[in-house]
Symmetry: C2
Subunit: 342 residues, 2 copies
Amino acid sequence: MSSIFREEIGEQPAVAARLLSEAAGPVAEAAREIRDADPAGLLIAARGSSDHAATYAKYLFEIRNRLPVALAAPSAFGLYGSPPRVERFCVVGISQSGASVDICTVLEQARDQGALTVALTNQPDSRLARAARVVLDLRAGPERSVPASKTYLASLVLLAMLSDALDPDPDFSRALRKVPDSLRQAIDLEGSFDPVVEALDAPRMAVLGRGYHLATAEEVALKITETCYSVAEAQSIADFLHGPVAAVEPGFPVLLLEAAGPALQQMRELSKQLAGLGAQVVRISDDRLDDRMAISVATGLPESLTPLPLAVAGQLLALRLALLRGLDPDRPRGLRKVTITL
Amino acid sequence: MSSIFREEIGEQPAVAARLLSEAAGPVAEAAREIRDADPAGLLIAARGSSDHAATYAKYLFEIRNRLPVALAAPSAFGLYGSPPRVERFCVVGISQSGASVDICTVLEQARDQGALTVALTNQPDSRLARAARVVLDLRAGPERSVPASKTYLASLVLLAMLSDALDPDPDFSRALRKVPDSLRQAIDLEGSFDPVVEALDAPRMAVLGRGYHLATAEEVALKITETCYSVAEAQSIADFLHGPVAAVEPGFPVLLLEAAGPALQQMRELSKQLAGLGAQVVRISDDRLDDRMAISVATGLPESLTPLPLAVAGQLLALRLALLRGLDPDRPRGLRKVTITL
């Protein structure tokens, strides 16, 4: 069964390559403005998949750039009409459509307070873009599938480019240029997904990551919930061990997002602990694993960039799980492409 | 069946009353230090239930005090060893035990950077307290049940007192003094819980709130997951409508946390929409509802304080659901009282 979601997943290497060659100018301008403003931190407003891109930004800018990142509660700005004083922050809005009323409200009020505002959007003529001093265009082309794929990936690429422009590092720049190939590598693995897909054919599951891959866990869990109607709960392994681990019983499926880095040892220990409880543990990993219950996307990228290929593997996993269940991944029940929340 | 969890739930009116009469001094000192430091915002580090108290703090300080609040990613400080520069923030740690290594690390590094540090803990001689310039003692007495109740409530009371000390308002102060009675009122309702408890006897469910009650949704979902082993996913209704709503099918249980305030109309509309999809909608509300599928805790408190009695109702709901299933709420499988994450 052909699907628009699958088609758009396949476009991602080209989307990443296009940004790397065309977006350097606006990214450099954003970096210059941020350096001039010298903000106490970034405040990022986003919903859905874009909010998971914001989670990636939190780890990336805090660890690579040592810049604190807060995720906005849009209702404080809109619904409650009592916005926090954000003039010492750089306020960033991420929205594919640029039309989410609550996200636009955050940027407009921040601009009116005098804060530096930046928009990441696929619609550079949108209301969100008009509220921003600097606009970073996702350049992803129209996204027609309800579950987002290429606009999520494009947000991550732009955020990584911005992080590099703020604190340039030749190794990181070189790795960034390898991202399109790494995405192709993830896509080429699709044929080997069946054992993992079948293991996740369940009404509920946990999707766990830590550090940089908390974002990947959130995004993959959302893809699975949207396209397969499973309740897939995403969490940091640290929070999972503070309570939700109690729900694990024999056969309970757990998907681990696992990449080389300081969190790896903890992930491996958790994996053993969960297997001991009888959980059905499967993995998406950047390691070369000889394990049919793992999808191995061994790209050699630094941990800060593995969220890009691993998210693509997760999108394909959600797609194949939907097809296994005879569901149409392009049109999840109850959802529209643009969700308006006030 | 008697349980320690039930006993500690019952202690909460006394815990709140004790804080209101004994903690005013340290709270005033914390407010003075924060005013002097004039931070760009608060950065709060916490795990588990304490992290839900941090979510409450986000709405409370952003809306009441117009002070931006960021929730810390502890791994940036500890695991990755590359802490963000937080000297322009007031850094707050919340931990019942004061022993969570990752939370202590955040406060220690913030102190070493020169940031103002504040600890909320039930152990005023703990490592967390030693890293803080100002210590707010939860004064909750030993908490023996693994699922937290009175230390969560005590954190909320202290946060509300601190918000009031920063921006005093006689109406808010008066309402705060009514909190112990409102908790008694929630506890006295326990006998009427059966229809709601039976409706939630399912392996998976969603627990939804918005604004101030996102924290309540997170905490009640965790109580249900810990004590009843259901996968209970907590979300803002805004995020829920961006994807997870697709998982709703006939009979799917949804628990709404609903209080008078700007989000109420949206909650009511969502409730109708979910009922239209065949979901089994139950509510914890601060309205006087004539509906056996609602727990009505009509306290007359302002929305900013309803998270306290509604959380207590949610604790009792989790307790009764555990008892219905023949589970021991004091000792969830796989959990210990103090979870050490590095």
